[in-house]
Protein backbone atom coordinates (compact mmCIF):
# COMPACT_ATOMS: atom_id res chain seq x y z
CA UNK A 1 0.00 0.00 0.00
CA UNK A 2 2.84 2.37 0.79
CA UNK A 3 6.11 2.76 -1.05
CA UNK A 4 9.00 3.20 1.35
CA UNK A 5 11.62 1.83 -1.02
CA UNK A 6 12.33 4.75 -3.29
CA UNK A 7 15.44 6.79 -2.72
CA UNK A 8 15.87 10.21 -4.26
CA UNK A 9 18.91 12.39 -3.64
CA UNK A 10 20.04 10.04 -0.89
CA UNK A 11 16.86 10.67 1.14
CA UNK A 12 14.11 8.11 1.68
CA UNK A 13 10.95 9.17 -0.14
CA UNK A 14 7.50 8.12 0.86
CA UNK A 15 4.12 8.45 -0.75
CA UNK A 16 0.72 8.39 0.86
CA UNK A 17 -2.10 5.92 0.28
CA UNK A 18 -3.12 7.94 -2.77
CA UNK A 19 0.37 7.82 -4.28
CA UNK A 20 1.11 11.47 -3.52
CA UNK A 21 4.48 12.54 -2.17
CA UNK A 22 4.43 13.51 1.46
CA UNK A 23 4.73 17.14 2.46
CA UNK A 24 7.49 18.10 4.87
CA UNK A 25 4.97 18.21 7.74
CA UNK A 26 3.54 14.83 6.80
CA UNK A 27 7.04 13.40 6.70
CA UNK A 28 7.66 14.58 10.26
CA UNK A 29 4.28 13.36 11.50
CA UNK A 30 4.95 9.93 10.06
CA UNK A 31 8.38 9.88 11.68
CA UNK A 32 6.82 10.65 15.09
CA UNK A 33 4.33 7.84 14.55
CA UNK A 34 7.04 5.37 13.60
CA UNK A 35 9.14 6.41 16.59
CA UNK A 36 6.22 5.80 18.94
CA UNK A 37 5.71 2.38 17.40
CA UNK A 38 9.37 1.60 17.90
CA UNK A 39 9.15 2.69 21.53
CA UNK A 40 6.40 0.13 22.10
CA UNK A 41 9.06 -2.55 21.69
CA UNK A 42 11.17 -1.07 24.47
CA UNK A 43 11.14 -2.25 28.07
CA UNK A 44 9.67 0.89 29.62
CA UNK A 45 8.50 1.85 33.12
CA UNK A 46 4.69 1.95 33.53
CA UNK A 47 4.55 5.71 33.13
CA UNK A 48 6.22 5.52 29.72
CA UNK A 49 4.65 2.22 28.66
CA UNK A 50 1.10 3.56 29.06
CA UNK A 51 1.62 7.10 27.82
CA UNK A 52 3.53 6.06 24.71
CA UNK A 53 0.59 3.83 23.79
CA UNK A 54 -1.89 6.60 24.48
CA UNK A 55 0.15 8.93 22.27
CA UNK A 56 0.41 6.31 19.54
CA UNK A 57 -3.38 5.83 19.52
CA UNK A 58 -3.79 9.56 18.86
CA UNK A 59 -1.01 9.70 16.28
CA UNK A 60 -2.71 6.88 14.42
CA UNK A 61 -5.60 9.26 13.88
CA UNK A 62 -3.22 11.68 12.21
CA UNK A 63 -1.51 9.25 9.87
CA UNK A 64 -4.75 7.43 9.08
CA UNK A 65 -6.72 10.65 8.60
CA UNK A 66 -4.06 12.16 6.33
CA UNK A 67 -3.99 8.91 4.33
CA UNK A 68 -0.35 8.28 5.22
CA UNK A 69 -0.77 4.90 6.82
CA UNK A 70 -3.65 2.55 7.63
CA UNK A 71 -3.09 -0.41 9.92
CA UNK A 72 -4.27 -1.85 13.22
CA UNK A 73 -2.10 -1.79 16.30
CA UNK A 74 -3.43 -4.57 18.53
CA UNK A 75 -0.08 -6.35 18.47
CA UNK A 76 1.40 -3.32 20.21
CA UNK A 77 -1.44 -3.30 22.79
CA UNK A 78 -2.80 -0.11 21.23
Amino acid sequence: VRDRGRIEGGRPMTVDLLGMELTASEDRLLAVYEELKALCDEDLPPIAHANVRAALALMHNVVNGLALRYEHLSDLDV
Binding site: V1, L18, L56, H60, L66, Y70, E71, S74, V78
Partner: protein, 459 residues
Protein backbone atom coordinates in the same frame (compact mmCIF):
# COMPACT_ATOMS: atom_id res chain seq x y z
CA UNK B 1 11.23 23.71 36.27
CA UNK B 2 8.24 25.50 34.93
CA UNK B 3 8.47 27.45 31.76
CA UNK B 4 6.48 28.93 28.98
CA UNK B 5 6.60 27.03 25.74
CA UNK B 6 6.90 29.35 22.78
CA UNK B 7 6.39 28.80 19.06
CA UNK B 8 2.90 27.36 19.18
CA UNK B 9 1.54 26.55 15.79
CA UNK B 10 -1.60 28.07 14.39
CA UNK B 11 -4.75 26.11 13.75
CA UNK B 12 -5.55 26.47 10.08
CA UNK B 13 -8.58 28.62 9.39
CA UNK B 14 -10.35 25.76 7.70
CA UNK B 15 -14.02 24.86 7.54
CA UNK B 16 -12.89 21.22 7.37
CA UNK B 17 -11.48 19.09 10.16
CA UNK B 18 -9.41 17.19 7.63
CA UNK B 19 -9.07 19.31 4.47
CA UNK B 20 -6.92 16.73 2.70
CA UNK B 21 -9.52 13.99 2.54
CA UNK B 22 -12.79 15.88 2.99
CA UNK B 23 -12.20 17.67 -0.33
CA UNK B 24 -11.07 14.65 -2.35
CA UNK B 25 -12.85 14.03 -5.63
CA UNK B 26 -14.83 10.84 -6.12
CA UNK B 27 -12.14 8.90 -7.97
CA UNK B 28 -9.42 9.52 -5.40
CA UNK B 29 -11.79 8.99 -2.50
CA UNK B 30 -12.72 5.59 -3.87
CA UNK B 31 -9.04 4.74 -4.42
CA UNK B 32 -8.44 5.49 -0.74
CA UNK B 33 -11.44 3.36 0.24
CA UNK B 34 -10.18 0.44 -1.82
CA UNK B 35 -6.72 0.64 -0.24
CA UNK B 36 -8.26 0.57 3.24
CA UNK B 37 -10.78 -2.13 2.32
CA UNK B 38 -7.99 -4.52 1.34
CA UNK B 39 -6.21 -3.96 4.66
CA UNK B 40 -9.40 -4.32 6.69
CA UNK B 41 -10.48 -7.53 4.95
CA UNK B 42 -7.02 -9.06 5.27
CA UNK B 43 -6.96 -8.11 8.95
CA UNK B 44 -10.43 -9.51 9.61
CA UNK B 45 -9.76 -12.74 7.74
CA UNK B 46 -6.51 -13.29 9.62
CA UNK B 47 -7.55 -12.24 13.13
CA UNK B 48 -11.30 -12.64 13.61
CA UNK B 49 -12.57 -16.21 14.03
CA UNK B 50 -15.93 -15.11 12.65
CA UNK B 51 -14.55 -13.64 9.43
CA UNK B 52 -12.03 -16.46 9.00
CA UNK B 53 -14.87 -18.99 8.98
CA UNK B 54 -17.16 -16.78 6.88
CA UNK B 55 -14.58 -16.01 4.21
CA UNK B 56 -13.61 -19.69 3.98
CA UNK B 57 -17.24 -20.79 3.73
CA UNK B 58 -18.02 -18.23 1.03
CA UNK B 59 -14.75 -18.70 -0.83
CA UNK B 60 -13.81 -15.05 -0.44
CA UNK B 61 -10.14 -14.10 -0.66
CA UNK B 62 -9.30 -10.51 0.39
CA UNK B 63 -6.40 -10.45 -2.07
CA UNK B 64 -8.93 -10.70 -4.90
CA UNK B 65 -10.24 -7.17 -4.25
CA UNK B 66 -9.18 -5.22 -7.32
CA UNK B 67 -11.88 -2.54 -7.62
CA UNK B 68 -14.18 -0.89 -5.13
CA UNK B 69 -17.14 -2.64 -6.75
CA UNK B 70 -15.59 -5.89 -5.54
CA UNK B 71 -16.82 -4.99 -2.07
CA UNK B 72 -20.07 -6.66 -3.11
CA UNK B 73 -18.28 -9.99 -3.14
CA UNK B 74 -17.76 -9.77 0.62
CA UNK B 75 -20.53 -11.61 2.50
CA UNK B 76 -23.02 -9.45 4.40
CA UNK B 77 -23.14 -9.33 8.18
CA UNK B 78 -26.37 -8.87 10.16
CA UNK B 79 -27.19 -7.97 13.71
CA UNK B 80 -28.71 -11.42 14.13
CA UNK B 81 -25.36 -12.95 13.11
CA UNK B 82 -23.60 -10.85 15.73
CA UNK B 83 -26.14 -11.67 18.44
CA UNK B 84 -26.07 -15.39 17.65
CA UNK B 85 -22.29 -15.40 17.87
CA UNK B 86 -22.42 -13.50 21.15
CA UNK B 87 -24.88 -16.03 22.56
CA UNK B 88 -22.88 -19.03 21.33
CA UNK B 89 -19.56 -17.70 22.59
CA UNK B 90 -20.28 -15.28 25.43
CA UNK B 91 -19.61 -12.61 26.34
CA UNK B 92 -18.25 -11.13 23.08
CA UNK B 93 -18.75 -13.79 20.40
CA UNK B 94 -16.40 -14.68 17.57
CA UNK B 95 -16.23 -11.31 15.78
CA UNK B 96 -13.52 -9.66 17.91
CA UNK B 97 -9.88 -9.93 16.95
CA UNK B 98 -8.87 -9.47 20.59
CA UNK B 99 -10.17 -10.60 23.95
CA UNK B 100 -11.18 -8.40 26.83
CA UNK B 101 -7.56 -8.27 27.97
CA UNK B 102 -6.55 -6.34 24.85
CA UNK B 103 -9.36 -3.79 25.14
CA UNK B 104 -9.81 -0.68 27.26
CA UNK B 105 -13.59 -0.25 27.03
CA UNK B 106 -16.77 -2.16 26.43
CA UNK B 107 -20.00 -0.48 25.38
CA UNK B 108 -23.43 -1.79 24.59
CA UNK B 109 -26.40 -0.91 22.45
CA UNK B 110 -29.21 0.92 24.20
CA UNK B 111 -31.44 -2.15 24.48
CA UNK B 112 -34.50 -0.13 23.49
CA UNK B 113 -35.56 -2.73 20.91
CA UNK B 114 -36.27 -5.28 23.65
CA UNK B 115 -33.54 -7.58 22.37
CA UNK B 116 -30.40 -8.19 24.36
CA UNK B 117 -27.69 -5.57 23.90
CA UNK B 118 -24.69 -5.98 21.64
CA UNK B 119 -21.36 -5.77 23.43
CA UNK B 120 -18.59 -3.94 21.62
CA UNK B 121 -14.93 -3.98 22.65
CA UNK B 122 -12.55 -1.14 21.91
CA UNK B 123 -8.78 -0.96 21.96
CA UNK B 124 -6.93 2.29 22.69
CA UNK B 125 -6.58 3.03 19.00
CA UNK B 126 -10.20 2.21 18.22
CA UNK B 127 -11.44 4.42 21.02
CA UNK B 128 -9.28 7.32 19.82
CA UNK B 129 -10.77 6.84 16.34
CA UNK B 130 -14.31 6.93 17.74
CA UNK B 131 -13.72 10.42 19.10
CA UNK B 132 -12.03 11.38 15.83
CA UNK B 133 -15.19 10.75 13.80
CA UNK B 134 -17.14 13.04 16.11
CA UNK B 135 -14.46 15.68 15.59
CA UNK B 136 -15.39 15.80 11.88
CA UNK B 137 -18.91 16.77 12.94
CA UNK B 138 -17.92 19.15 15.73
CA UNK B 139 -15.59 21.11 13.47
CA UNK B 140 -17.85 20.79 10.44
CA UNK B 141 -20.79 22.45 12.16
CA UNK B 142 -18.64 25.39 13.21
CA UNK B 143 -17.84 24.58 16.85
CA UNK B 144 -14.43 25.98 17.82
CA UNK B 145 -12.13 25.96 20.90
CA UNK B 146 -13.71 29.20 22.15
CA UNK B 147 -17.04 27.40 22.67
CA UNK B 148 -18.43 25.85 25.85
CA UNK B 149 -20.30 22.59 25.34
CA UNK B 150 -22.94 20.90 27.47
CA UNK B 151 -23.58 17.23 26.80
CA UNK B 152 -27.01 16.20 28.10
CA UNK B 153 -26.38 12.49 28.28
CA UNK B 154 -26.40 9.78 30.95
CA UNK B 155 -22.79 8.57 30.52
CA UNK B 156 -23.64 4.91 31.07
CA UNK B 157 -22.73 1.70 29.25
CA UNK B 158 -24.72 2.84 26.19
CA UNK B 159 -22.16 4.42 23.88
CA UNK B 160 -24.34 7.46 23.01
CA UNK B 161 -22.42 10.72 23.24
CA UNK B 162 -19.27 9.30 24.84
CA UNK B 163 -17.31 9.81 21.63
CA UNK B 164 -18.57 13.37 21.31
CA UNK B 165 -17.34 14.12 24.82
CA UNK B 166 -13.80 13.07 23.90
CA UNK B 167 -13.99 14.89 20.57
CA UNK B 168 -14.88 18.13 22.35
CA UNK B 169 -11.88 17.69 24.65
CA UNK B 170 -9.63 16.93 21.69
CA UNK B 171 -10.71 20.05 19.81
CA UNK B 172 -10.04 22.09 22.96
CA UNK B 173 -13.58 23.00 23.91
CA UNK B 174 -14.60 23.54 27.53
CA UNK B 175 -16.82 20.56 28.13
CA UNK B 176 -19.56 20.22 30.76
CA UNK B 177 -20.58 16.56 31.18
CA UNK B 178 -24.30 16.58 31.94
CA UNK B 179 -24.63 13.07 33.36
CA UNK B 180 -26.63 12.01 36.43
CA UNK B 181 -28.72 15.18 36.44
CA UNK B 182 -32.40 15.92 36.48
CA UNK B 183 -33.76 17.78 33.49
CA UNK B 184 -34.19 20.87 35.64
CA UNK B 185 -30.58 20.70 36.83
CA UNK B 186 -29.39 20.34 33.25
CA UNK B 187 -31.31 23.41 32.10
CA UNK B 188 -29.85 25.43 34.96
CA UNK B 189 -26.32 24.20 34.24
CA UNK B 190 -26.61 25.07 30.56
CA UNK B 191 -27.39 28.64 31.53
CA UNK B 192 -25.04 28.86 34.53
CA UNK B 193 -22.00 27.60 32.62
CA UNK B 194 -22.81 29.79 29.63
CA UNK B 195 -22.94 26.87 27.23
CA UNK B 196 -22.78 27.85 23.57
CA UNK B 197 -23.24 24.30 22.30
CA UNK B 198 -25.66 21.67 23.61
CA UNK B 199 -25.71 18.02 22.57
CA UNK B 200 -28.72 15.74 23.06
CA UNK B 201 -31.25 13.65 21.22
CA UNK B 202 -33.86 15.68 19.31
CA UNK B 203 -36.56 14.51 21.69
CA UNK B 204 -34.56 15.54 24.71
CA UNK B 205 -33.78 18.95 23.18
CA UNK B 206 -37.54 19.53 23.11
CA UNK B 207 -37.88 18.19 26.65
CA UNK B 208 -35.18 20.57 27.89
CA UNK B 209 -36.99 23.46 26.19
CA UNK B 210 -40.27 22.46 27.86
CA UNK B 211 -38.54 22.37 31.23
CA UNK B 212 -36.93 25.76 30.65
CA UNK B 213 -40.32 27.26 29.83
CA UNK B 214 -41.81 25.85 33.03
CA UNK B 215 -38.87 27.25 35.01
CA UNK B 216 -39.26 30.64 33.36
CA UNK B 217 -35.81 30.39 31.80
CA UNK B 218 -35.40 32.10 28.44
CA UNK B 219 -33.40 29.68 26.32
CA UNK B 220 -33.70 31.89 23.26
CA UNK B 221 -31.92 34.60 25.20
CA UNK B 222 -29.23 32.22 26.49
CA UNK B 223 -25.80 31.88 24.92
CA UNK B 224 -26.61 28.61 23.14
CA UNK B 225 -25.87 28.99 19.43
CA UNK B 226 -25.68 25.40 18.26
CA UNK B 227 -27.35 22.09 19.07
CA UNK B 228 -25.71 18.83 18.06
CA UNK B 229 -28.43 16.21 17.71
CA UNK B 230 -28.08 12.46 17.48
CA UNK B 231 -29.75 9.18 18.39
CA UNK B 232 -33.02 9.57 16.47
CA UNK B 233 -34.00 10.38 12.88
CA UNK B 234 -35.95 13.43 14.08
CA UNK B 235 -32.85 15.63 13.82
CA UNK B 236 -33.42 15.72 10.08
CA UNK B 237 -37.22 15.96 10.07
CA UNK B 238 -37.62 19.58 8.94
CA UNK B 239 -40.65 20.31 11.13
CA UNK B 240 -39.03 18.89 14.27
CA UNK B 241 -35.75 20.60 13.55
CA UNK B 242 -37.51 23.93 13.00
CA UNK B 243 -39.39 23.53 16.28
CA UNK B 244 -36.16 22.82 18.18
CA UNK B 245 -34.40 25.77 16.57
CA UNK B 246 -37.31 28.06 17.39
CA UNK B 247 -37.47 26.97 21.03
CA UNK B 248 -33.72 27.32 21.55
CA UNK B 249 -33.02 30.27 19.26
CA UNK B 250 -30.08 28.24 17.95
CA UNK B 251 -29.07 26.26 14.87
CA UNK B 252 -29.54 22.48 15.06
CA UNK B 253 -27.11 20.07 13.39
CA UNK B 254 -28.01 16.45 12.83
CA UNK B 255 -25.61 13.52 13.19
CA UNK B 256 -26.19 9.77 13.21
CA UNK B 257 -24.18 6.85 14.46
CA UNK B 258 -24.46 3.35 15.80
CA UNK B 259 -22.90 1.26 18.54
CA UNK B 260 -21.82 -1.33 15.99
CA UNK B 261 -19.26 1.08 14.54
CA UNK B 262 -18.86 2.91 17.86
CA UNK B 263 -19.38 6.40 16.54
CA UNK B 264 -21.12 8.56 13.97
CA UNK B 265 -20.91 7.98 10.25
CA UNK B 266 -22.68 11.15 9.05
CA UNK B 267 -22.89 14.79 10.05
CA UNK B 268 -24.55 17.97 8.89
CA UNK B 269 -22.21 20.77 7.79
CA UNK B 270 -22.69 24.51 8.26
CA UNK B 271 -24.25 24.89 4.81
CA UNK B 272 -27.06 22.53 5.86
CA UNK B 273 -27.98 21.11 2.45
CA UNK B 274 -30.96 19.20 3.83
CA UNK B 275 -28.96 16.12 4.67
CA UNK B 276 -25.88 14.69 6.32
CA UNK B 277 -22.43 14.11 4.81
CA UNK B 278 -21.04 10.56 4.97
CA UNK B 279 -17.52 10.38 6.45
CA UNK B 280 -16.31 8.52 3.42
CA UNK B 281 -12.57 8.47 4.09
CA UNK B 282 -13.29 6.18 7.03
CA UNK B 283 -16.25 4.18 5.76
CA UNK B 284 -17.82 2.66 2.69
CA UNK B 285 -21.56 3.17 2.69
CA UNK B 286 -23.62 1.15 0.22
CA UNK B 287 -27.34 1.66 -0.32
CA UNK B 288 -29.09 -1.56 -1.30
CA UNK B 289 -32.60 -2.60 -2.14
CA UNK B 290 -33.47 -4.52 1.04
CA UNK B 291 -35.29 -7.22 -0.93
CA UNK B 292 -32.94 -7.86 -3.86
CA UNK B 293 -29.76 -6.61 -2.13
CA UNK B 294 -28.85 -4.85 -5.38
CA UNK B 295 -27.45 -1.29 -5.20
CA UNK B 296 -29.95 1.49 -5.80
CA UNK B 297 -29.19 4.66 -7.77
CA UNK B 298 -28.62 8.12 -6.35
CA UNK B 299 -31.92 9.57 -5.19
CA UNK B 300 -33.55 6.20 -4.49
CA UNK B 301 -34.32 4.87 -1.05
CA UNK B 302 -32.60 1.78 0.24
CA UNK B 303 -30.95 0.12 3.20
CA UNK B 304 -27.60 1.36 4.51
CA UNK B 305 -24.84 -1.24 4.48
CA UNK B 306 -21.68 -0.03 6.19
CA UNK B 307 -18.06 -1.07 6.09
CA UNK B 308 -16.05 0.74 8.73
CA UNK B 309 -12.29 1.13 8.70
CA UNK B 310 -12.18 2.27 12.30
CA UNK B 311 -12.38 -0.63 14.65
CA UNK B 312 -9.65 -3.21 14.53
CA UNK B 313 -10.94 -5.03 17.61
CA UNK B 314 -14.31 -5.69 15.94
CA UNK B 315 -14.02 -5.28 12.18
CA UNK B 316 -17.37 -4.35 10.70
CA UNK B 317 -17.55 -5.28 7.03
CA UNK B 318 -20.74 -4.95 4.97
CA UNK B 319 -23.02 -4.71 7.99
CA UNK B 320 -26.73 -4.47 7.23
CA UNK B 321 -27.89 -1.59 9.40
CA UNK B 322 -31.63 -1.66 8.71
CA UNK B 323 -31.48 2.14 8.29
CA UNK B 324 -33.50 3.60 5.44
CA UNK B 325 -31.59 6.28 3.49
CA UNK B 326 -31.55 8.21 0.21
CA UNK B 327 -28.05 9.02 -1.06
CA UNK B 328 -27.35 12.02 -3.28
CA UNK B 329 -24.06 13.33 -4.71
CA UNK B 330 -21.69 15.54 -2.73
CA UNK B 331 -22.27 18.37 -5.20
CA UNK B 332 -25.77 18.76 -3.75
CA UNK B 333 -24.04 20.80 -1.05
CA UNK B 334 -21.96 23.92 -1.68
CA UNK B 335 -19.55 23.31 1.21
CA UNK B 336 -16.84 21.84 -1.00
CA UNK B 337 -16.69 18.43 0.65
CA UNK B 338 -16.39 15.42 -1.60
CA UNK B 339 -18.44 13.33 0.80
CA UNK B 340 -21.84 12.25 -0.51
CA UNK B 341 -25.00 13.08 1.41
CA UNK B 342 -27.91 11.22 2.92
CA UNK B 343 -30.78 13.47 1.93
CA UNK B 344 -33.02 13.96 4.95
CA UNK B 345 -30.53 12.10 7.17
CA UNK B 346 -31.60 8.66 8.38
CA UNK B 347 -35.16 8.35 7.11
CA UNK B 348 -36.15 5.61 9.53
CA UNK B 349 -35.82 1.87 9.74
CA UNK B 350 -36.42 -0.46 6.85
CA UNK B 351 -38.77 -2.43 9.09
CA UNK B 352 -40.55 0.44 10.87
CA UNK B 353 -43.21 0.87 8.22
CA UNK B 354 -46.62 -0.13 9.55
CA UNK B 355 -49.45 -1.31 7.34
CA UNK B 356 -52.87 -0.22 8.56
CA UNK B 357 -55.77 -1.51 6.50
CA UNK B 358 -53.53 -1.62 3.43
CA UNK B 359 -52.01 1.82 3.89
CA UNK B 360 -48.29 2.30 4.57
CA UNK B 361 -47.64 4.39 7.66
CA UNK B 362 -44.18 5.68 8.62
CA UNK B 363 -43.50 7.09 12.10
CA UNK B 364 -41.34 9.82 10.56
CA UNK B 365 -44.24 11.08 8.42
CA UNK B 366 -46.55 11.20 11.44
CA UNK B 367 -44.00 13.15 13.46
CA UNK B 368 -43.51 15.65 10.62
CA UNK B 369 -47.25 16.40 10.67
CA UNK B 370 -47.68 16.52 14.44
CA UNK B 371 -44.77 18.95 14.81
CA UNK B 372 -46.63 21.45 12.61
CA UNK B 373 -48.99 21.96 15.57
CA UNK B 374 -47.17 24.14 18.09
CA UNK B 375 -49.66 23.47 20.89
CA UNK B 376 -48.74 19.76 20.99
CA UNK B 377 -46.31 18.93 23.75
CA UNK B 378 -45.90 15.18 23.30
CA UNK B 379 -47.57 12.45 21.28
CA UNK B 380 -47.90 8.72 20.85
CA UNK B 381 -49.19 6.61 18.00
CA UNK B 382 -51.04 3.51 19.15
CA UNK B 383 -51.85 0.69 16.73
CA UNK B 384 -54.40 -1.91 17.86
CA UNK B 385 -56.46 -4.73 16.42
CA UNK B 386 -60.15 -4.62 17.24
CA UNK B 387 -61.76 -7.83 16.07
CA UNK B 388 -60.46 -8.18 12.52
CA UNK B 389 -59.90 -4.48 12.00
CA UNK B 390 -56.68 -2.53 12.60
CA UNK B 391 -57.01 0.88 14.20
CA UNK B 392 -54.50 3.69 14.57
CA UNK B 393 -54.88 6.28 17.30
CA UNK B 394 -52.86 9.44 17.74
CA UNK B 395 -52.73 10.42 21.39
CA UNK B 396 -51.58 13.99 21.98
CA UNK B 397 -50.60 15.84 25.10
CA UNK B 398 -51.04 19.59 24.92
CA UNK B 399 -48.78 22.30 26.32
CA UNK B 400 -49.71 23.45 29.86
CA UNK B 401 -50.78 26.95 28.81
CA UNK B 402 -52.85 25.75 25.89
CA UNK B 403 -56.44 26.93 25.59
CA UNK B 404 -58.55 23.79 26.20
CA UNK B 405 -61.61 25.01 24.28
CA UNK B 406 -59.68 24.78 21.01
CA UNK B 407 -59.45 20.96 21.14
CA UNK B 408 -62.27 20.46 18.64
CA UNK B 409 -60.76 22.43 15.74
CA UNK B 410 -57.24 21.25 16.54
CA UNK B 411 -58.10 17.54 16.65
CA UNK B 412 -60.07 17.90 13.44
CA UNK B 413 -57.13 19.63 11.74
CA UNK B 414 -54.76 16.89 12.91
CA UNK B 415 -57.17 14.21 11.74
CA UNK B 416 -57.51 15.80 8.31
CA UNK B 417 -53.76 16.36 7.82
CA UNK B 418 -52.98 12.76 8.76
CA UNK B 419 -55.74 11.38 6.51
CA UNK B 420 -54.60 13.52 3.59
CA UNK B 421 -51.05 12.19 3.93
CA UNK B 422 -52.20 8.57 4.25
CA UNK B 423 -54.64 7.90 1.44
CA UNK B 424 -57.62 8.86 3.55
CA UNK B 425 -56.76 6.51 6.42
CA UNK B 426 -58.90 7.33 9.44
CA UNK B 427 -56.72 8.23 12.43
CA UNK B 428 -58.47 8.50 15.78
CA UNK B 429 -57.18 11.57 17.60
CA UNK B 430 -57.38 11.57 21.39
CA UNK B 431 -56.20 14.01 24.02
CA UNK B 432 -53.95 12.58 26.75
CA UNK B 433 -53.67 14.03 30.25
CA UNK B 434 -50.72 16.28 31.04
CA UNK B 435 -47.69 14.11 31.87
CA UNK B 436 -49.48 10.90 30.85
CA UNK B 437 -47.35 10.02 27.80
CA UNK B 438 -43.82 8.65 28.20
CA UNK B 439 -40.85 11.01 27.96
CA UNK B 440 -37.55 9.93 26.45
CA UNK B 441 -33.92 10.90 26.91
CA UNK B 442 -32.67 8.42 24.32
CA UNK B 443 -34.24 6.87 21.24
CA UNK B 444 -37.85 7.95 21.55
CA UNK B 445 -40.36 5.20 20.83
CA UNK B 446 -43.62 6.95 20.04
CA UNK B 447 -45.19 4.25 17.89
CA UNK B 448 -46.63 1.37 19.90
CA UNK B 449 -47.93 -1.53 17.83
CA UNK B 450 -50.02 -3.78 20.08
CA UNK B 451 -51.31 -6.04 17.33
CA UNK B 452 -48.74 -8.76 17.92
CA UNK B 453 -48.36 -8.27 21.64
CA UNK B 454 -49.79 -10.69 24.19
CA UNK B 455 -53.10 -9.62 25.70
CA UNK B 456 -52.51 -6.96 28.31
CA UNK B 457 -48.97 -6.11 27.20
CA UNK B 458 -48.18 -2.44 26.96
CA UNK B 459 -51.26 -1.39 28.91
Amino acid sequence: MLGIIGGRGVVADSPYWNPKTETLGRERLEALQLAKLRVQCEWAGARSPWYRRLFAAEGFDPSSLSTLADVRRVPLLTRDDWMASQSAEPPYGALPTIGGEGAIRVHTTSGTTGRGPLRALDSRKDWAWIAEMWAYAVWGCGVRPTDTAYIAFGYGSFIGFWGLHYAMEKVGILNVPGGAQTTEARVRQIVDFGATVVASTPTYALRLAQEAEQLGIDLEGSGVQRLILSGEPAGSIPQTKALIEQQWGAKAFDTAGMTEIGTIMVFECERQPGGTHIIEDHMIEEVLDPMTLEPVAYGERGERVVTSFGRGAIPLIRYRTGDLVCRVPAATCSCGRGFDIYEGGILGRVDDMKIIRGTNVYPRAIEAIVREFEAVNEFQCLITREGLRDEITLRVEMKPNWGGDEWGPLSEALHNRLALAHEGLNFRVEQAEAGELPRFELKAKRTVDQRDAPIGAGR
